[in-house]
Amino acid sequence: MSAPSILIVEDDAEIAEFLSFGLSAEGYAVQVEPHGAQMLERVSGGAFRLVILDRMLPDAEGVDLCRRLRAAGDGTLVLMLTARDALEEKLDGLRAGADDYLTKPFAFEELLARIEALLRRVSPPPRELVIR
């Protein structure tokens, strides 16, 4: 079984850099995409097992991207990152179809644990739309 593939959608180069370095070191196949607009295209067809999605991108809102992903029937795992920690924002993200949610700054260990937990969901069932 090949290494699980992860797409990091993050416009902050420094954050993208350490995530990429750290996750690669853990054995994941990591790619970085700084533009939100490119995400849907890159993820389509199950190219990645998991997307780490920054909530605030210069060209798009993470929540919108997630909603559109789910609307297109894509079940790729989504772990959302945000620098805002209001409960309402966290709920927004989860309602939009994110599988997990993490607030910056976070412990790298925790990120790893959550990624592992998500990936353990063996063959996730085909998702119906969860838009509300």
Partner: protein
């Protein structure tokens, strides 16, 4: 009213003593019973005095009826009756004198009686004049021209009655009295008839006194009536009413009365003033309260906005601090975690830690600066500042700013003096902010132009880049805290979007302006304008 209270329709000789006015009957009796010359003389004088007395009484009645026009209205029939009565009394007197002349033989005495006839004629003429003069009074009163009517009364009626008619009556009375005294002195025998005549004479004298009293009463009743009228006017609320009298005691009374009226008027005016002040105060307070209400509403709106802004501000701060912290912590953890981290990786991580610490330190400083500027605790010096020196320092500082590769800074500086009043340190900070933004955000290989100029009493510092520029909407929001243009969102740069807010605050403190001019895709221009020091302008 007539003096003894008889009905106004017959205000005749007020206290008729029973002798009536038919002197002819008395005269007949006299002729048949008295032969003595002295007795005849006495009787004649007695008749004459009675006649004069009637004249005086009618004159008084006439005057009173005219005066009553002012109080009771303009019914003039009683005046005419009084006039007729007066004319009749004058006729009786004239008859008596004529009889006397027929009787007398002494030329000197005849001449005296003829004088008396002339006096009676003078009285009649005076009466005609009076009656002519008083005619306008009624119409004037009806038209409400009271003051003019009063003037006529005082000048033409009252004065004429007292001065002319009164004097004539007095003269006639004196002469007759003298004649009576002569007759008494000349009489050798005091007969019963003489005694009776003497008694009648005393009664006549009493009557004369009474007649004079009537004259006096006219002098009193009119002023009293005028005072009563004044009191009535005051009671009606006409406080401008003035009672016009000059006579001594009554004059004083009138003066007192007028004083009282004016005091009441002053009090009323003060009350009205107080009332009007009160109303004005109430109106003012109402206005104030209304304005206060509007202010409160505006304040509540402002507070709500502030509250929303504050919530946004803290969310933004939180974001701005979390991002570098995420990099710091994440990178450090990842580097530590990896067992095969190379020294090179370690060095990179540590360098990044220093950069992030610096970035956060600046952010904290900027936040503190803004917080203090709001609290008013930042001291801005007022000294002579040479902008040429400040400009040179800014250029030096810019050498150490992080910048993209190949960016050229092109300075330009006027040769004109550029002295202003202000704080050199703060100005340097304000100039550096747009320059820092420009060289951090401009595309590689472009030129940033920075210029110091002087024109029209103002100095200007302009920073022009060839970067992506701002949309008008972005240019407007550029001074809002934490705002960053869409294309400058690369978070690796420092700058949390507080710089232009700080620059604007500093420029404001110097009475200057900071503006952004830009066309998207064709670069941005940040221009700071400052007023030159007075001495230089």
């Amino acid at each position: 009213m007539s003096a003894c209270g008889t009905a106004p329709t017959n205000p005749r000789q007020p206290c008729d003593d029973g002798h009536g006015r038919d002197g002819h009957r008395n005269r007949n009796r006299r002729d048949s019973t008295v032969g003595d010359a002295n007795q005849r003389e006495l009787r004649s004088s007695y008749e004459q005095i009675r006649a004069i007395n009637f004249i005086a009484a009618w004159a008084n009645d006439y005057s009173e009826q005219v005066a009553e026009l002012f109080i009771l209205g303009t019914d003039e029939t009683e005046i005419d009756e009084a006039r007729e009565g007066l004319l009749a009394a004058l006729a009786v007197k004239a008859d008596l004198v004529a009889e006397e002349i027929a009787y007398l033989t002494d030329e000197e005495e005849i001449a005296g009686e003829q004088d008396e006839l002339r006096r009676i004629e003078a009285m009649r003429r005076t009466l005609d004049e009076l009656d002519l003069a008083r005619r306008p009074i009624g119409p004037l009163l009806e038209e409400g021209r009271r003051e003019e009517a009063e003037a006529i009364y005082r000048r033409d009626i009252e004065h004429q009655l007292d001065a002319v008619l009164g004097a004539l009556i007095d003269t006639a009375t004196e002469i007759e009295q003298d004649e009576v005294m002569e007759a008494i002195a000349g009489s050798m025998v005091l007969s019963d008839q003489m005694r009776g005549l003497a008694i009648a004479l005393v009664a006549t004298a009493a009557l004369l006194v009474f007649g004079n009293a009537l004259m006096v009463q006219r002098a009193i009743s009119r002023p009293v009536a005028m005072l009563a009228e004044g009191a009535e006017a005051v009671a009606r609320g006409d406080l401008s009413h003035v009672v016009r009298l000059e006579r001594d005691e009554l004059g004083m009374l009138a003066a007192r009365f007028n004083l009282m009226t004016s005091q009441i008027r002053e009090q009323r005016d003060r009350l009205l003033q107080a009332k009007s002040n009160l109303e004005q105060q109430v109106a003012e307070r109402t206005r104030e309260l209304r304005a206060r209400g509007a202010e409160l509403e505006a304040a509540v709106t402002r507070l709500r906005e502030l509250d929303a802004n504050r919530a946004q501000f803290f969310a933004d701060i939180s974001h701005e601090l979390r991002t570098p912290l995420t990099v710091l912590r994440g990178n450090a953890e990842v580097t530590l975690r990896s067992s095969d981290s190379t020294p090179e990786r370690m060095r990179q991580t540590l360098a990044q830690v220093v950069r992030k610490a610096d970035q956060m330190g600046r952010l904290v400083e900027d936040l503190l600066f803004l917080s203090r500027s709001e609290a008013g605790t930042i001291v801005v010096e007022r000294k002579h500042v040479d902008l040429h020196e400040v400009f040179a320092e800014v250029l030096l500082d810019s050498q150490s700013l992080p910048r993209k590769a190949g960016i050229t800074i092109s300075p330009q500086q006027t040769s004109d003096p550029a002295m202003i009043e202000g704080d050199a340190g703060r100005l340097r900070q304000a100039f550096l902010i747009p320059l820092d933004n420009a060289i951090r955000l401009a595309p590689e290989g472009t030129t940033v132009r920075v210029e110091l100029g002087v024109a029209d009493g103002r100095a200007s510092v302009t920073v022009r880049d060839e970067g992506p520029g701002f949309t008008p909407e972005e240019a407007e929001r550029a001074f809002v805290r934490f705002f960053r243009g869409a294309t400058s969102r690369g978070r690796s740069g420092r700058g949390a979007g507080l710089g232009l807010s700080i620059a604007r605050w500093i420029v404001d403190q110097h009475g200057g302006t900071i503006t952004i001019g830009s066309t998207p895709g064709r670069g941005a221009t940040v221009r700071i304008d400052l007023p030159l020091a007075e001495a230089q302008t």
